[in-house]
Symmetry: C2
Subunit: 194 residues, 2 copies
C-alpha cells in the first residue's frame, strides 16, 4: 500500500477530516484520534505531517478561507456592473455550502479560537478585510467614499450577524431571506445617498 507521493493526499484528507470532525463535534476540542479516524489513518501520521494539533487546525482554517476566496473570485467573473458585483459578494457569503450547519459550526469555533491563537486571528482578520474591501471597491463607484465606507461596514456586519444567528438554528432564516435582507440594506442606503 505505501506508495510515493502520499504527502499532499494525506494532508488534504486530514484537513478535510478535521473540518468534518469539528463540525460533528461542534468545537475545536476534537482529538487527533477523531480526526485521524475520519481520515482513515493513525493519529501518529497526523502528527507526522502537521507536527502539532494546532498546526493542523491552522491549516484547516486556512483551507476554509481559500475555498471562500476561490468561490468569490469565480462568481465575480460573471458580474459586470458594480451593483452586480455587490450582489455576487453578498450571495457567495450565503452560498449553500457556506450556510451548511457544519460549516457554520466550524467558522464559529474558529472565531472563538481566535481569542487565543494569534495565527487563527490573523486568518480571520484577512477574511474580514477581504469582505470589506470587496464591498468597498464596488460601493466607491456608486457613491462618495465616506458613504461607501459606512455601507461596507454595515453590510459586512449584517452578513456576519445573519451567519452567526443561523448557528442557533432556532429561527431558521433561509438563504434567500438572508440575501434579501442584506440586498435591501445596500439598496436603501444607496437610494438614500442620491
Amino acid at each position: 500500500m505505501p506508495k510515493i507521493g502520499m504527502e499532499p493526499l494525506r494532508r488534504k484528507a486530514l484537513v478535510d477530516a478535521a473540518l468534518r470532525a469539528i463540525a460533528d463535534h461542534g468545537s475545536l476540542s476534537v482529538t487527533m484520534s477523531d480526526i485521524a479516524r475520519q481520515a482513515g489513518v493513525s493519529p501518529a501520521l497526523a502528527h507526522h505531517y502537521f507536527g502539532s494539533k494546532e498546526q493542523l487546525l491552522v491549516e484547516t482554517v486556512r483551507s476554509l478561507l481559500r475555498q471562500l476566496r476561490d468561490d468569490t473570485v469565480t462568481a465575480l467573473k460573471a458580474a459586470r456592473t458594480p451593483r452586480e458585483k455587490l450582489s455576487v459578494v453578498i450571495r457567495v457569503s450565503f452560498q449553500a455550502d457556506q450556510f451548511a450547519p457544519e460549516t457554520i459550526a466550524a467558522w464559529l469555533a474558529f472565531y472563538a479560537e481566535a481569542q487565543r491563537s494569534e495565527e487563527t486571528r490573523r486568518f480571520l482578520v484577512i477574511y474580514a478585510r477581504r469582505l470589506r474591501s470587496n464591498l468597498l471597491a464596488n460601493l466607491k463607484r456608486l457613491c462618495p467614499p465616506d458613504a461607501a465606507g459606512r455601507i461596507a461596514e454595515g453590510a459586512a456586519a449584517m452578513i456576519d450577524g445573519l451567519y452567526i444567528r443561523q448557528s442557533l438554528k432556532s429561527a431558521p432564516i433561509n438563504i434567500e431571506a438572508s440575501i434579501g435582507l442584506t440586498e435591501d440594506y445596500v439598496t436603501m442606503q444607496l437610494r438614500g445617498i442620491e
Copy 2:
C-alpha cells in the same frame, strides 16, 4: 471563618470568577482550578456547589443574560416613544460593559459551546428572541407588521454582527460608530416605508 449562609456568596463569587477566567483564557476550556483560584477557594468547593463544570458554565451564561436583561429593562423606563425605545435597545446592546473585550470573548465562547450544549443553546435562543421582540414591539407601532418583522431581523443581525467583528479587534469600530450604523439602518428603513 466558616460561617453559615456562605452558599449564595460562594455561588456568585464562582460565577463571576468563571466569567473572568473565560475572558482571560479566551475559551470555555478553562479548568475548574483556574476558576476556583480566581474565586479564592478550592476546586473541590466549586464542585461541591455546582456539581459539575458544565453546570457552573450554564449558570455563568445565565448570569450574563440576566445582566443584559436587567440593563435593558432599566434603560427602557427612561424612554417614551417607540422610536426612543428602539434607540435604547440598540444602545444597551453596545453599552460599555457589554462591549468590553472580556465580555465579548465570553459571549463568543458560549455561542461556540451552544453547538454542543443543549442548555447553553436554549439560553442564547432566549437572548435572540428577546432582542428580536424588543425591536419588533416598537417597530410595529411605526410601520406595517411585515416590514416591522423584516427590520427587526435586519437590526438584530447587524447588532450581533458588529459585536462579533469587534472580537477580532483588528478594525476597532467604536461604540458610537456601531450605534450609528444600526440607528442609520433603522432610520433609513423606516423612511423607505412611508
